[in-house]
């Protein structure tokens, strides 16, 4: 497999603020590449640079063989882009929106109408839908935006938080479409802050404060960043500070309503005993599989400490 996106030492500064700090990675053809990070970590900025919407302040990046700084025109023909904020025209219908953007991609009228109809079918929308985009529910609107990004048959699509503010059912539908895209050979570069969605990606990059701090497959990330056994601890009166000092415990992180405790030589029995001994009540300890959220917390904690 050959790399379709190549990024080396990418930087972006806005005045004195450094949004992206020396990021390097490659994305292979047909891959679903997830970009994970908190708001303001530099995800959108990276995507915008890769789409030719912003010029990098340093480093190089090429997409489908086009350098983003010197050949943004070439980049635009090879990529589809779905921005974080819904940016189609709310007063136009699905078909009218696609008709326009097809025209913007230089598709002749008849060809783009055919293509738009087919794409709307692919994302589960109807070409005859009389609703304007503004009147559609969030999930439907996002699928329409995806169709718009795919009009010209791009080799890579960049999806910037495509499922933000969308209900779980609609998110699942959306990801089914993403997997289908990847199966048909389109490279998908997607940012999200839903950790469960990141599990669907072939590889995940983790961004903290503009830097790419980890990059691997979801299971590889878990192995590397959440070693040892992981226990979910629930109950009241949990004393985080005391637990950290416990023999065999390496990490204690708040997780949902309870805690995630990690350690190499721990067992559920020993841990629950110790928690009770330190004032925990109604304690329930279960061994659990690490999630990408554990990875994210471990990596973020390390990055902010360092």
């Amino acid at each position: 497999m050959s790399a379709i996106i190549e990024v080396v030492g990418l930087e972006k500064r806005f005045g004195t603020f450094q949004a992206v700090r020396g990021v390097s990675f490659q994305v292979d053809r047909g891959e679903i590449f997830g970009y994970l990070g908190a708001n303001g970590a530099g995800k959108s900025t990276t995507i915008r640079i890769l789409c030719g919407l912003m010029t990098p302040s340093g480093g190089t990046a090429s997409v489908a063989g086009h350098d983003v700084a010197s050949d943004p025109e070439g980049v635009r023909f090879s990529v589809g882009y779905m921005s974080q904020r819904f940016s189609l025209y709310p007063d136009l219908t699905a078909m009218e929106n696609l008709d326009f953007f097809g025209g913007a991609y230089r598709l002749a009228r008849r060809a783009r109408l055919r293509r738009a109809e087919a794409l709307l079918g692919d994302v589960g929308l109807s070409a005859d839908d009389p609703r304007t985009a503004g009147a559609m529910p969030g999930g439907v609107r996002q699928r329409l935006a995806l169709a718009a990004a795919l009009l010209h048959g791009p080799q890579v699509v960049f999806l910037d938080e495509p499922t933000a503010g969308v209900d779980p059912e609609a998110r699942r539908t959306f990801w089914r479409i993403i997997r289908k895209l990847s199966d048909s050979g389109t490279t998908v570069f997607v940012t999200t802050h839903y950790m469960d969605e990141a599990e669907y990606c072939h590889r995940v990059g983790l961004m903290v404060d503009g830097a790419l701090v980890a990059l691997d497959t979801p299971s590889g990330l878990k192995r590397a960043h959440v070693p040892g056994r992981l226990f979910a601890v629930r109950g009241t009166g949990l004393d985080v500070a005391r637990l950290r000092e416990l023999a065999g415990v390496t990490h204690v992180e708040p997780f949902g309503a309870g805690l995630h405790v990690r350690g190499d030589l721990l067992t559920a029995e020993v841990l629950s005993e110790a928690v009770r001994a330190h004032g925990g009540q109604g304690v329930l300890v279960e061994e659990s599989a690490p999630t990408l959220e554990d990875v994210f917390l471990a990596v973020a904690a390390r990055s902010s400490a360092g």
């Binding site: 919407l53 990529v79 904020r85 940016s87 189609l88 025209y89 136009l92 326009f100 953007f101 025209g103």
Partner: protein, 375 residues
């Protein structure tokens, strides 16, 4: 650049803008209603025809001669007798209170003096309103000449050697100021409307966020600019035709010259002002700033520097030169030439040239200043 592809994209852009307009009833209503309201409002309000001036009479003589003079003086539509008072002092009081602007004072002994060939009356004018005052004074002197002619004829019959200058007003026989003003009004209204129409379009895309999506496509800057220009040209032309129709039907302004020339120069003028609006829109990035910049940059010059009200010949030289970059100035000139005088088309050459240059400069600026990236 493939020219066919270029056209495809310009038309895709224009179609989209046209659809926005179709959905946006408020804008269409504003676009077609506003020029009509403005024309009617200004057309009736802005008039230099001064008549029905409130007048006070002071007749200290009270003879048949004085009464005859007074009734002659106020018989036309120019002066309207509102009061008869006892003294010139009271006339001043009425001036101060704003009840009258003119006082005719016929002194005691006027009838007797007139018989001796020495009739004198006094005309008091409130000159704080200089326009009314000069109009009154010029009417008074005409009245004077006319009255003297009459007297001379009475005394000497046709033997008198009299010079009579007879003026004939061409192109506007009744000397109605509305005939002169309406073409200027049309130019002013269309300047404002065209600039405001387009000023919002690019700014709106920035505010909606659709600009980002547009930038992600390979659509060119010139394609966006031209695609936005086309549909608004249609709207602006509809406005202009509406306003022209109104001008002829409601205000009786003639169109003596060629309709083709009128539409031709209108096309150039609309392209110039629409491009000005686009340039503002490209620079402004939000609709509020765009609206204000559009209003100021179109209204002030088209009102003050177009020759619509203030004659350009009377301006200081630097200002005169400046008026050349005001599209309304050329349009006002051309409209008056075509509509009122059926002028030879060669006098429009300068105007046409200036408008084309202005439109091109604005289009180039709008395109050049159009960013192709977010940052």
């Amino acid at each position: 650049m493939n020219p066919r592809r270029f056209v495809v994209r310009v038309f895709a852009m224009a179609r989209k803008e046209w659809m926005h307009l179709g959905r946006d009833r408020a804008t269409v209503l504003f676009a077609l209603g506003m020029p009509v309201i403005l024309l009617v409002l200004f057309g009736y309000a802005v008039s230099f025809d001064i008549d029905h001036i409130p007048t006070v009479l002071v007749d200290e003589d009270w003879t048949p001669e004085s009464r005859s003079l007074a009734s002659h003086f106020s018989s036309g539509a120019t002066f309207e007798l509102v009061a008869t008072v006892g003294s010139a002092r009271e006339v001043e009081r009425l001036f101060r209170e704003g009840h009258a602007k003119v006082g005719l004072v016929i002194p005691k002994g006027y009838g007797r003096e007139l018989a001796r060939g020495n009739g004198r009356v006094q005309l008091l004018v409130d000159a704080s309103d200089n326009m009314t005052a000069s109009s009154v004074l010029s009417y008074a002197s005409r009245f004077n000449v006319w009255k003297n002619h009459e007297l001379l004829r009475v005394h000497f019959g046709n033997r008198a050697d009299l010079i009579e200058v007879r003026g004939r007003a061409l192109y506007n026989p009744a000397i109605r100021s509305v005939v002169f003003l309406v073409p200027g009004l049309i130019a002013m209204i269309q300047s404002m409307m065209a600039v405001i129409l387009t000023a919002l379009t690019v700014a709106r895309e920035w505010e909606r966020g659709s600009m980002e999506q547009l930038f992600a496509t390979p659509v060119g800057r010139l394609e966006i600019v031209l695609g936005k220009l086309l549909p608004y040209f249609g709207v602006a032309m509809a406005q202009l035709l509406l306003v022209l129709a109104l001008a002829t039907w409601v205000f009786g302004v003639p169109i003596r010259g060629s309709m083709v020339a009128l539409l031709g120069i209108s096309t150039l003028f609309l392209l110039a002002t629409l491009s000005q609006g686009l340039f503002i829109s490209v620079m402004a990035r939000n609709q509020m700033v765009a609206t204000q910049a559009a209003a100021v940059s179109s209204m002030l010059p088209s009102m003050l520097l177009s020759g619509f009200v203030l004659p350009i010949e009377n301006m200081p030289r630097p200002l005169q030169i400046m008026t050349n970059i005001v599209p309304a100035r050329h349009f006002v000139h051309a409209l008056r030439a075509i509509m009122l005088r059926d002028a030879d088309l060669s006098v429009l050459g300068r105007d046409a040239f200036a408008l084309v240059v202005f439109a091109l400069v604005m289009l180039v600026l709008a395109t050049r200043r159009f960013p192709r990236r977010l940052a």
